[in-house]
Amino acid sequence: MPQELVVRTPENAEIRVPLAGMFSRASAFVHDVAIQFVCVIVAHFVFLFVLEVLNSGRGFGPGFVRGLYSIAIFVFVFGYYSFFELYRNGQTPGKKANGLRVVALNGQRVGLFSSLLRNFLRIADFMPFMFLAGIFSTLITERHQRIGDVFAGTVVIRIDGN
């Protein structure tokens, strides 16, 4: 029943992999956002503690720490997906829990540029509110790709076996 990604090897063999649907992907996304949310909360408490220590003693100024904290949060939120996609076989914790994986259109591992592009374009998918553009894109593209996937040449597949 599911639709498939067809990959042709140089030996002219055909490999068919089931594509992930939008609801499984949404579930994985919620999973990842929950993890990110917990991490950011913890980081915030650590930041408040560090700020308190700095206010009471010498060292770097609170402005510097605030700037560092903002950069760290930005890198964490945007780098989270790319890190797992590049170094954990295309699977963020949410995708792993849902049996999904990000791959390139030829079935190979996703590259650095593709990963960064697909994750930065989440903003486009989010438009106008709560990923409506992404939902429509997933519904009408041949390989269930959101806008980020279309531009990065990636696709999300199911790997939980038959």
Partner: protein
Amino acid sequence: MLLPLIDNSDEEFAACLDSLEGNEVPRRRHAMVALERLGGTRALQVATALTSDVDPVVANLARRICSVLGKKGLMLRRYLRTQHLVQTVSIRGFYQLLDEVVFVIRRNLAGIAIDSFLFSIPKLLMVTVFFVSPFFAPFFDLVHEVWLVSLLIFVYQIFWRPLVWHSTGLAFLAGFPENACRRQARKAGGWRLYNSLLKVGLIEAILYSLMLSMAYSLYFSSGKFGFPLLVTFTVWLLIWTLSVRAPSAVIFSSSVKAESVWLFDCGSNFWLSMKLGMVLILLYMIVFGSAVSSLWMFGLDNWFSVPHVFSCGFFIAADVLIDPFVVGYRLLLARLNMDPK
């Protein structure tokens, strides 16, 4: 007369193929003669592939083999050609079940979109009335006539809803990968099916209309009165409604007898329906929020000057978009319950 115990035609056939794959012209021509002598479907298959060979002798021999074997009644069955197996993946969770609904919708996206649009025209007219009402006094008075809107809801749910099931349901069925379901989608239909759907969905329609009318009147009279009661009733009805598989059973069986089967299966599908209810609330929020934020993005937020009227319009518009999904979900669930494989 002694008959050979082992038929060596396989070896001969393999030798013919080896010769034909080579470049030596005499050996290829001999192989064709041997192939003609062997005959059979295999020879026909090979000869068919060689009718346009570069060697004219081989091509002529191939055409002759085809002609002779064709006169003997042999033919190539095209459907016996190698085909990839239809890949199936087990549905392991609730979200994969929802994914399958989307996959089936995608298989007949145009059909479902057209049917859904045509049979949503009453809803779209309502949306138009709600959106125009702040600028056109007669419409504004009209949407504040609670009894009239309630009457429209009743008429829609009781008489028009079976038509929606009839059209969108059959369009959804046409997107199933199984031939049996697609045949059913072509076979079922007409007045008889409408009649069955009308009867089987009557109680559901009345309860649903009551809920919507109550919600509408409470919303337009006093937004706070009886609100917890309304929410409880809505959740209960949603769970109950989404668990009823009678309309799906009627569509699948296309039998009048099926209407007497009241598949009230709230017990086994309770949590599934509860989850679907949550997903639907989220989907309504997405459509609603997207509409509002689009207005804001394009600088049209001053249109939102009468929020309670616009909210109703957006709610109905969201319902137009989400309804085919709900119909599809209930059909797929009924199909899987009928035959889990």
